[in-house]
Structure formats: structure tokens, C-alpha cells
Amino acid sequence: MAIQFLFLISRQGKTRLAKWYQTISQKEKSKISRELGTLVLSRRAKMCNVVEYRDFKVVYRRYASLFFIVGINSHDNELLALEVIHRFVEQMDKMYGNVCELDIIFGFDKAYHVLDELLLDGYIQESSRKEVLKRVDQQDELENMDEFEHILS
């Protein structure tokens, strides 16, 4: 299960978060996110959440005003990809406390931190719900320690 990329777009097609697990040029990136944006946004609610794009599959899911879009290999399990998206949302929900689009916009670095603990270069590294948040918390704590020292100095 190798995830190629994950990005979030708003209903207006604005990118809210973008993570690419492949080295591709900026031009290509924006082309893909633009094309997928229009593709996904054009689909109706009842339709299935998998689309084929080039020669891989794209799994998306809508949460409130945000579309979570994930690119996977054509042989990967689509349902598992949906699960990954859901897990990601769940974790953010816990961390921000009832996550909303604005949380992600203004705290985008935190969202990245959660994602980096959940996936490592596109591979699921942690399937435990608690573990991911625990690690993010630990890192935050470490940051605060720095802060603390900073004040003391």
C-alpha cells in the first residue's frame, strides 16, 4: 500500500494541504492537483469514491467542506485507502478538537505532523489510534521545552 500523494482541497478547489511522496516537478504537481480537483469536484455525492487517473487510482472522501484526495497504485486496496483517510481525519479531530477547515488552514504544520506520524513516505507506519497522537504530543512537548528554556534564558 504505497500512497503516492495526499492532498486536501476545499469545495472551491483551493489546496489546503499537499503531501507528495514522489519527487515530481512543481509544474506537474499543480497540473495533477488541478486536474484531480476538477475531476473530484464534478462527481456527485452518490457516486463511488474511487476514480481512475492516468494509470493509478485516486480515492477521495469528503468531510464537511474538505475533500481528502489520495493517490494509490492500481493494485492497492481502495477500501484501505478510504480507511487511511478516515484515520487521518479522526486523528486530526482528536488533536484540534472537532477539526474544521479553518483549523487546518491556520495550523497546517500540525496537520503535517500528524500525517508524518501516520504515514512514512506513503506507507502506513502506525495503525494504532493512540500511538500517532502520543508521538505528536511528545514532539509538541519537546517544542515547549525549548520554549521554556528560551524564556528562562
Binding site: R16, E78, L79, D116, Q139, I151
Partner: protein, 1039 residues
């Protein structure tokens, strides 16, 4: 600027919880939001300013400020701004002692770093430092970074450090390390060779997440190279049985799927467990994965009864997916179902509900489900439901009020329709007239622009649809003789449709071919008209068609540029498709030939003068039209046009001699007629300038008029030549006479009458030249065309004595430019020699001279020996002496016996002769074709480049291993030494070395691939693994 800096520092001191610089970032975000509401220009301006600000912030020395700027840039990167220019700053932040800044640095690095060589040399040290940090969170951060950024050089340098982390005390680090190792393996395959065992060892890790990560890595490697893991199957199997974690189970199943392909024997052991898992679990993702594992792991074989039972159980499970009304389950269920059906097509009928599911998916509003269902709907088809399925497919092509049909779907549906219809050599088609109607609908729905929808179809897609449909029409015409008349009528209608030549000219290649080849089989559509009438109507139809295609010169001489009388002819001249032109040249000649033979049929071999002149005029028009391509830039078109022109010009000379007056007369008549018609039209359109459609209507009718005109002419003739059975002309087949025509008629008749005396004076029976009556048909009718299977020609053996290398003749020769032949052929040009002064040129050649010339030409490779042609012609002339009737030719073309259709109810299966394809004995069907098609390797920017692991073998020197088992250890040692050496050396030198090493390695790999391929299944070949486990596997597999 400086104020802001102070401000943020104050904030940092006031708020100790990690939000010190958020103000600046949220300022940016708020700014973007407010400006994007204004206008795009304002936003662009704001962003430019923001980036400029970041640049200045980066030039300060304060790390805090820099980190803030980097974070802002990382945010802007989402908006498509490249941030690679600040990579060195990112590196600086990464090296910060403060975790907060380091974290930002890594975040930015992961987003921004690509293969920057010089940068990564610096980064390597930073990674090493962080990897060896005392703080495990920092180590984790570094591992995340490495996994994303790693390049071949970095992989080599960092390999040992990451490897050490595999034994870190914290599972958190071990887990990340093993995943990072996979990325290192990808870039640096040697590392896998050396550390393979350490990866395997991680399967015994006490922590489940580490095992999970390890399985992940093994699963990925096994996609490329499953062989090396076969020995560890028992261990993986135990993990599968022990765990309850569905994530892990799914990954192991993925892994088994790859392994099963190379080790079919494992199926016996694992299949029951998988089935058990599938039936026990509630998670649909797991059920789906189980089925995928069974199907894609090639655990189903068509022969085994047990396997088909397994498949049936899988389908039963899938049917529950479809009952949930969840479109995602529907989609994945359909995917899995398709895969099973590909192996067991019979289940589409056997298992209840399957065919209904497929039918439902075919009409699903979701296009991706529809497309998937299309893939298998040909399994659905049988004799009974083909009309239903085809109807279903056709309705998919009809746009609804609020949606249009995507062009890709159009193509897919078209291809599938053709596939369904042609299945087993048209075995399922109940009625071919119905099928032709379907094809007609497909053309109308796909290629021609629909009046309601505004969507246009791209030229490429349109072209491929047109080519496929054209092929199908041609196939049908050659294979099913009884359908030819119907087909021909449809084809002719399409040829006369100007939209076809405008929108999809490639369709015409085959349409013109059919028109030309089978024109003699043209019949009237209506059932109840009697034969006499029919043949005249058909001749009219042919003439109309002919005029439609070649009359461009009339428009030209009228100087028309818009509202042409013959728009198709004009378009044809300028058509940019050489392949169509090459065909249409032949087709026109065939059409002309058919017209001539029809004339000959009606009036016997002696034609009344006016008829004779009509043919002259057609010929003249044809010559005029073909000469448009005399200098065509495409060689084939030019060649064909020229060679036919030569022949046709000769014929024309044979018919008229020097006297072109009659032709000129007809031409003038034609031109004046259209001129008057035009004027009348213009007047009318001025009178009631209502709609354009009116005008189009009258345009259409102008085509009819040409026939009308011809009819009238012959009406007049009737008076003078009673032989001709002319009443046939009376009933006008193109009934609707518009006002314009009625206006026209008096004028016309007047005109005609004025010319009548001249014609009458000439009126006497004239014979057509043999060139037209015998030779021209002989070009087309000598052999019957039969369908030939696709690769029959390939399997024709090359004659043994064929030697293309040796010289044919060394005798020097002079090129003869005069290929016109001898007395015999000369005689064939005309029946009445006296009338043809032109041919005297050749007739003067004495027999002597000719003989001498023949000798000279004997060795000229460009000259084909006339002997065999002569004999042929002789036989022809023999038949001619028995007063050749054109019927003999038409008979010939209809010769293939057609069993009469039993037409009772509309779509009852009719009995139709479908010609089977001819093939050469011993031809192996398709194999040749298949081999010539090589799968193209497409490069995808988004796929992980794991080509390094392609055909990767654990022991690069496998071949040697077979003979000497110690070799492996020596090899290992040498690699270690090399590595150690390399580590000590300077960096540039290292690069060089690794290159040469790689070359050797690839060579070794190529060899090793051979050895493993030939030896799969026999465990002896795999020598790398420790002996213990090998024995174990053996036991398990044979259990």
C-alpha cells in the same frame, strides 16, 4: 520590519506554548484569504510582497525569524510557489539546536528537497548527527526525513547509521528505521543483498507495529522480486494466524498474492485459511482483500472443480457488497467480480443475480462503474439477450438533458458493441438488417455532431471510432453476402451526407471501398417494386452518386464558393486524408464501370447516340475530376490517379476520337442548368429569406435535379429512339419537386428543344469500345474477394528458390517509355477501327519491329512480359464474340450462393451465410501477431521508481553459487571490503567506483535471472538462504 521582529520576540516571551510566531503566519494566511476575495491580481500582488518579505527575513541571522519565514514559504508552496531556492536556509534551520525550529526545517525539507546533489552532501552530515542524537524524537524526525529525501548517494552514506537504528530500544524508532531502510534499498540495492537477513529478523520483533512495518517492506520488495521470500512463508503464515490486526492481515495477504504467483504450491496451505478469514470477518476491506489475494494470486484454475467452488463462494460474498447500496462497495465488488469472471465466464449465468448486477452497473450514472461493467458485458451476451444488451449500450450513447457522453465512453461503448456483435464470427446476430441499423445509430450518436449537445469530439477519438466502424462495415460486406444491398444503401446514404466528410473522413476509406466494390449489388430498399423499374431507379441512383462525387468542376466553372451544388465533391478534392483519396480513386472508376455496364445492359451493346454521349460525358467528368490529383503530394494518390487517368483518357479517345463537341455541349447544358437553378434560388431566397434550413433544402434538391435533368433528356430521346425502354425514367424517384424546379422546367425544356435537332442528326447506334465493355470490368471482376484471416499472409512459406540477393540480369537495358502493346491489345480498344484515327500510331508497328522490341524488353525488369495478359485477353475477346452481356458480370459478383432469409418475426434468427476467413494451412492463429506486439513501457512520473529492484537477486553471483557454495561468503566479504574502502576514500572517487561496480553487477544480474527462471520450483537453485529454513519450507509446501 524591525518592529515586527521585536513584536514577535515579545510575543514569544509572553506565550510559552509554541505559538510565538503564529502571528506572522496567520497574518499571511488571513492576508491571502482577504485578498483572494478581492481579485486575482490583488492576491498575486500580495503573494509577491509576502515572498519578498520572506526573502529579507531569511537574510537575517536570527534563526527564529528564519524558521518563521521557512514555515510561511512551506505554506506558500501549497499555492504552487517553488521554494527550492531557499533549500540552504532550510538546511540551516534543520541544524538548529531547538527542536521547534528543527521540526520546521524537516517539514520544509520533506516538502521541498529533491535530487539536489550538492545540497544533500551537506544534508548527509546533518542526518547523521540527528540519527545519533540522544533524543529519540529527533531520531524519528531524521528517519522520516531520510525516507522521503533519500537519493542513491545519500542512501549509501547513511545506510549504516539507519541500519543501527533497527536495534534501537524504542519500537517507535525501529519501525521508522525499517521503513526508511526500504527506501534505502530502492536507491542502493546492494544494501538489501547485505542486510537481507536483518530485515527478516525484524519479523520476530516483539512490537506489532515493527512487524507490521517489516511486512510492509517485504510486501513492497516482493512485488518486484517475490522469489527471495519464499523460504520465509511459514513465518509469515504464523504471523497471519496470530494477529487480529486487520491492517497487518491485509498487508500479509498482499504479500501472499505476490508470492503465490511464483510458488503455486503454497495455495494448498493458505487457501483454507484465507477462505476462513473471509467468511469470518465483518470488515469488507478484508473480504475484498481476501478475494483479491485468491484471484490475483492465481489460486484459481479453470480445470479444478474445487477452485470453481471457491470462486462461487467469493462471488456469493461479493453479492452482499452489491446489496449494501454503498457505491464504493459496488465499485470494488465489481472490480473483483470482473476478475473472477475473466477466469470463470460461466458464472455470469450460473450464479443468480450476477448478470443483473452487471446490467445494473452498465446503466449506473457513475461513469467509472459503467466503464468497468463495459469490460465484462461481452460475457453477458448470448443469442437471446443480444438485442437487449445492445440496446442498453446504445442508450449509453444518448446524452441526457443535463449531461453529455464523454468521448472516451463513446469510444469504449463503440468498441464493445463491435466486440459483442462479432463474437464467434457473428454467431449471435439475429438479423443483419437490425445490426446494420445499430451500426448506423452508432455513427449518428458518436461521430456526427448531435443537434442538442454542444460537446465536440476530439479528432483522435473520432478517428479511432471511425476506423473501427469502417473496418466493421467492410468486414460485414465481405463476410455476409446477403446483407450487401442493405449495407450498400446505408453506405451510399452516408457518402451523400456532407456531415460525414466534414466530421469523420476516415470512415470514408472503407465506405468508398464498399461502394466501389459492391456497387453492382445495389438494390432498391422497398420490397414491392418490380424489377424493371428497379434497375432503372438503381441506375439513376448510381448516376446521382457519381455526379455528387465528381461534379466539382461545374461549381468551379460557375465560380461558386458558398452554397455549392456539390459540396461533397468540392470537399473531396481538398481532403487531407491520402488513405481516403487512394481508395476513392478506385471506387470512382468502379462506379463508372458499373454505370457503363448498366447502360450496356439496357441498350445492348449498340448504344443510341445520345446514351453514348452520356457515357462520354461521364467519362469526361471522371477524367476531369481525377486530374485534380495528378500532382498530389502523396505518392500513392498521385500514382493511382495517374495510372487510371492514362487508361481513362485512352478510353475517352477511343469513344470520341478528336470530336469533343458532344461532350462540350453536355457540359454547357449542365452548367447553364445549374446557373439558372442558382439564379432561381437566389431569387427565392430574396423573396422569402426565412431560415437557412430552407436554403439547405433546396441545396439538397439540387442534387436530385441533376438526375431530373438526365431524366428529361432521355424523355426527349424517347421520340427518336424507340429501342430504348425509356418509360422507366418517368417515375421520378426523387419525388419532392420544389417550387424552384417547377420554375425551372419550362426553361429547361426550351433549352433542350433548341438543341434537339443537332442531336437527332447524330442519332445512330454506336458500339462502346471494348476498353470499357471488357477490359475495364476485367480489372475488377476477375476474381471473387473472400475474407482472409488476419495473419494468413504471414504464414505463407517463402519459396525455397527465392533468392532476392542475386542479380536478376546483368544485361544492360534501356528503359522503354512506351508500354502500349501489340496488335492484339490494340484491337481491343475499339470495335470500329475506322473511327479511331488515333490508334493508328501503334497499328503501324510491324510485326517484325515488335518482335525485335520484345526481345529487347525481355530482360527489362520494369517491363512485364505481355504473354500471360494476352492469353487472358484472348479469352475475354472470345466471350465478347458471343456478344457479351453485362449480366454475366453481375452474375459473377452475386455468385456466392445466398440462402434465402426466413423472415417471420422481426428479430428471429435468420439464416445467413457468413463466410469464414480463409487461412493458410498450418497457420498458427494469432501467435505471430501477438509476438510482434511488445508491451510498451510507459513511464509514470508518479510511480515509485523501483526499477532498481527489478530482477534483483539476493546473490548477484548466483550462477557461481550453484557450483560453489562458498562463493557467496567470499562475495559478501569482497563487498564489505569494497564498501569499507569506498567509505575511506574521497567522495568524488567514490562516485566513480560505484559506477563501475554497478556495471559489473547488472551483468551478473542478467545472468542470475536466467538461472532463477529456469529453476523456479526446484529449491536447489536458491542457494543464498540458510539451510535450516530451506528444509522447513520444503516440509510445509509438500505437506
Amino acid at each position: 520590519m524591525s518592529f515586527q521582529l521585536q513584536n514577535s520576540q515579545v510575543l514569544a516571551r509572553l506565550k510559552p506554548f509554541g505559538i510565538s510566531f503564529e502571528k506572522s503566519l496567520s497574518d499571511l494566511i488571513k492576508g491571502i484569504r482577504s485578498h483572494s476575495k478581492e481579485s486575482p491580481e490583488a492576491l498575486a500582488q500580495f503573494l509577491d510582497v509576502a515572498i519578498q518579505e520572506c526573502k529579507t527575513e531569511l537574510s537575517t541571522t536570527d534563526l527564529e525569524t528564519k524558521a518563521m519565514a521557512i514555515l510561511k514559504l512551506a505554506y506558500l508552496e501549497m499555492y504552487g510557489f517553488d521554494m527550492s531556492w531557499c533549500n540552504f536556509h532550510i538546511l540551516e534551520i534543520m541544524s538548529s539546536g531547538k527542536f521547534q525550529q528543527k521540526r520546521i526545517g524537516y517539514l520544509a525539507a520533506i516538502q521541498s528537497f529533491k535530487n539536489e546533489q550538492d545540497l544533500l552532501i551537506l544534508a548527509t552530515n546533518q542526518f547523521k548527527k540527528d540519527l545519533n542524537s540522544h533524543n529519540h524524537i529527533e531520531i524519528g524526525l531524521a528517519l522520516s526525513g531520510i525516507a522521503t529525501i533519500v537519493t542513491p548517494n545519500l542512501a549509501k552514506d547513511i545506510n549504516d547509521d539507519v541500519l543501527m537504528k533497527l536495534n534501537h530500544s524504542k519500537p517507535y524508532i525501529r519501525k521508522k528505521a525499517i521503513l526508511a531502510m526500504y527506501k534505502i534499498f530502492l536507491q542502493y540495492p546492494d544494501s538489501l543483498r547485505l542486510n537481507f537477513q536483518r530485515v527478516i529478523d525484524k519479523l520476530d520483533d516483539p512490537d506489532i507495529s515493527v512487524i507490521s512495518a517489516t511486512v510492509n517492506v517485504i510486501c513492497e520488495i516482493s512485488k518486484k522480486n517475490p522469489n527471495i521470500f519464499i523460504n520465509y512463508l511459514p513465518k509469515l503464515f504464523t504471523i497471519l494466524e496470530d494477529t487480529k490486526n486487520n491492517w497487518l492481515i491485509i498487508r500479509i495477504l498482499k504479500l501472499f498474492q505476490s508470492l503465490s504467483k511464483v510458488e503455486p504450491r503454497m495455495k494448498r496451505k493458505i487457501l483454507p485459511t484465507i477462505m476462513d478469514l473471509m467468511l469470518r470477518t465483518q470488515a469488507s476491506s478484508l473480504i475484498y482483500e481476501c478475494i483479491n489475494c485468491i484471484v490475483n494470486g492465481q489460486m484459481l484454475s479453470t480445470e479444478s472443480f474445487k477452485d470453481s467452488e471457491t470462486a462461487k463462494t467469493c462471488i456469493d460474498q461479493l453479492m452482499t457488497f452489491f446489496k449494501t447500496n454503498d457505491s464504493n462497495l459496488k465499485f470494488v465488488g465489481l472490480l473483483a467480480l470482473i476478475n473472477i469472471l475473466k477466469i470463470f465466464p460461466i458464472f455470469i449465468d450460473r450464479v443468480e443475480g450476477v448478470s443483473q448486477v452487471i446490467m445494473d452497473c452498465l446503466v449506473d450514472p457513475d461513469i467509472i462503474i459503467k466503464q468497468k461493467a463495459l469490460q465484462v458485458c461481452h460475457y453477458l451476451v448470448n443469442e437471446d439477450n443480444i438485442t437487449e444488451v445492445v440496446k442498453l449500450l446504445l442508450t449509453q450513447l444518448i446524452p441526457t438533458e443535463n449531461s453529455t457522453v464523454p468521448q472516451q465512453l463513446k469510444l469504449e461503448v463503440t468498441l464493445k458493441l463491435l466486440e459483442i456483435a462479432t463474437l464467434d464470427n457473428y454467431a449471435n446476430i439475429p438479423n443483419f438488417k437490425w445490426y446494420v441499423a445499430v451500426l448506423k445509430d452508432v455513427i449518428n450518436l458518436t461521430l456526427l455532431p448531435l443537434p442538442s449537445a454542444s460537446t465536440t469530439i476530439s479528432p483522435q477519438v473520432s478517428n479511432s471510432i471511425a476506423i473501427e466502424l469502417g473496418k466493421e462495415f467492410k468486414n460485414l460486406a465481405t463476410k455476409v453476402p446477403s446483407i450487401r444491398p442493405t449495407l450498400l444503401n446505408n453506405v451510399i446514404t452516408f457518402i451523400q451526407d456532407v456531415r460525414i466528410i466534414e466530421n469523420c473522413p476516415s470512415l470514408l476509406t472503407d465506405f468508398y471501398w464498399i461502394m466501389g466494390e459492391y456497387i453492382d449489388e445495389l438494390r432498391e430498399d422497398s420490397e414491392d417494386s418490380d424489377d424493371e423499374d428497379d434497375s432503372q431507379v438503381i441506375l439513376n441512383k448510381k448516376i446521382k452518386l457519381f455526379n455528387l462525387l465528381v461534379n466539382n468542376n461545374i461549381d468551379k466553372s460557375l465560380g461558386l464558393t458558398v452554397h455549392l451544388n456539390f459540396p461533397i465533391s468540392a470537399k473531396l478534392v481538398r481532403l487531407g486524408y491520402p488513405s481516403v483519396l487512394a481508395v476513392v480513386i478506385q471506387a470512382l472508376v468502379k462506379l463508372f464501370n458499373s454505370i457503363v455496364s448498366d447502360y450496356a445492359k439496357f441498350y445492348s451493346s449498340e448504344l443510341p447516340d445520345d446514351k453514348y454521349n452520356e457515357i462520354c460525358y461521364y467519362l469526361y467528368k471522371l477524367v476531369g475530376f481525377l486530374s485534380n490529383w495528378e500532382t498530389h503530394q502523396n505518392y500513392e494518390v498521385q500514382e493511382r490517379a495517374l495510372s487510371w487517368l492514362e487508361f481513362l483518357k485512352l478510353s475517352l479517345e477511343a469513344m470520341t476520337g478528336d470530336d469533343l463537341s458532344a461532350i462540350k455541349l453536355s457540359e454547357e447544358k449542365d452548367i447553364t442548368f445549374y446557373k439558372l437553378l442558382r439564379e432561381a434560388q437566389v431569387e427565392e431566397s430574396e423573396e422569402d429569406s426565412e431560415e437557412e434550413s430552407e436554403e439547405e433544402d433546396s441545396d439538397d434538391n439540387s442534387d436530385d435535379d441533376s438526375d431530373e435533368y438526365g431524366d428529361l433528356e432521355s424523355d426527349d430521346e424517347m421520340v427518336s429512339t424507340p429501342i430504348a425502354p425509356l418509360p422507366e425514367f418517368e417515375p421520378n424517384p426523387f419525388a419532392e419537386i420544389e417550387q424552384t424546379e417547377q420554375l425551372e422546367q419550362p426553361v429547361k425544356t426550351q433549352e433542350e428543344h433548341s438543341q434537339l435537332p443537332a442531336e437527332i442528326s447524330l442519332s445512330e447506334a454506336r458500339k462502346l469500345p471494348i476498353l470499357l465493355t471488357t477490359i475495364l470490368p476485367s480489372f475488377f471482376k476477375s476474381y471473387q474477394l473472400n475474407p482472409v484471416s488476419r495473419n494468413a499472409q504471414r504464414s505463407i512459406a517463402v519459396p525455397e528458390d527465392l533468392d532476392l540477393d542475386s542479380e536478376i540480369s546483368s544485361v544492360p537495358f534501356t528503359l522503354e517509355l512506351d508500354p502500349v502493346q501489340d496488335n492484339d491489345s490494340y484491337n481491343l480498344y475499339i470495335s470500329e477501327v475506322e473511327e479511331e484515327p488515333l490508334i493508328q500510331l501503334t497499328s503501324e508497328e510491324t510485326f517484325e519491329k515488335k518482335k525485335e522490341r520484345m526481345n529487347r524488353l525481355k530482360d527489362d525488369p520494369y517491363y512485364i512480359n505481355p504473354e500471360p495478359i494476352k492469353t487472358k485477353k484472348k479469352s475475354k475477346s472470345k466471350t465478347e464474340s458471343e456478344s457479351v452481356t453485362p449480366e454475366s458480370y453481375t452474375e459473377m459478383s452475386t455468385a456466392p450462393s445466398v440462402t434465402k432469409k426466413s423472415k417471420k418475426s422481426k428479430l428471429k434468427k435468420e439464416k445467413v451465410v457468413i463466410l469464414s476467413e480463409e487461412t493458410v494451412e498450418g497457420a498458427s492463429p494469432l501467435t505471430d501477431l501477438e509476438s510482434s506486439k511488445k508491451p510498451k513501457k510507459k513511464k509514470n512520473a508518479l510511480k515509485i521508481d523501483s526499477s532498481n529492484l527489478d530482477n534483483f537477486n539476493l546473490s548477484s553471483s548466483d550462477v557461481l553459487d550453484v557450483s560453489n557454495k562458498n562463493e557467496y561468503e567470499i562475495d559478501l566479504e569482497s563487498y564489505r571490503n569494497k564498501l569499507a574502502e569506498a567509505a575511506q576514500e574521497e567522495k568524488p572517487k567514490k562516485k566513480k567506483k560505484s559506477k563501475t561496480k554497478k556495471i559489473i553487477e547488472t551483468e551478473a544480474e542478467v545472468e542470475s535471472v536466467h538461472s532463477t527462471r529456469s529453476g523456479t520450483g526446484s529449491p536447489d537453485v536458491i542457494t543464498v538462504k540458510p539451510k535450516k529454513t530451506k528444509k522447513k519450507t520444503k516440509a510445509v509446501i509438500l505437506e
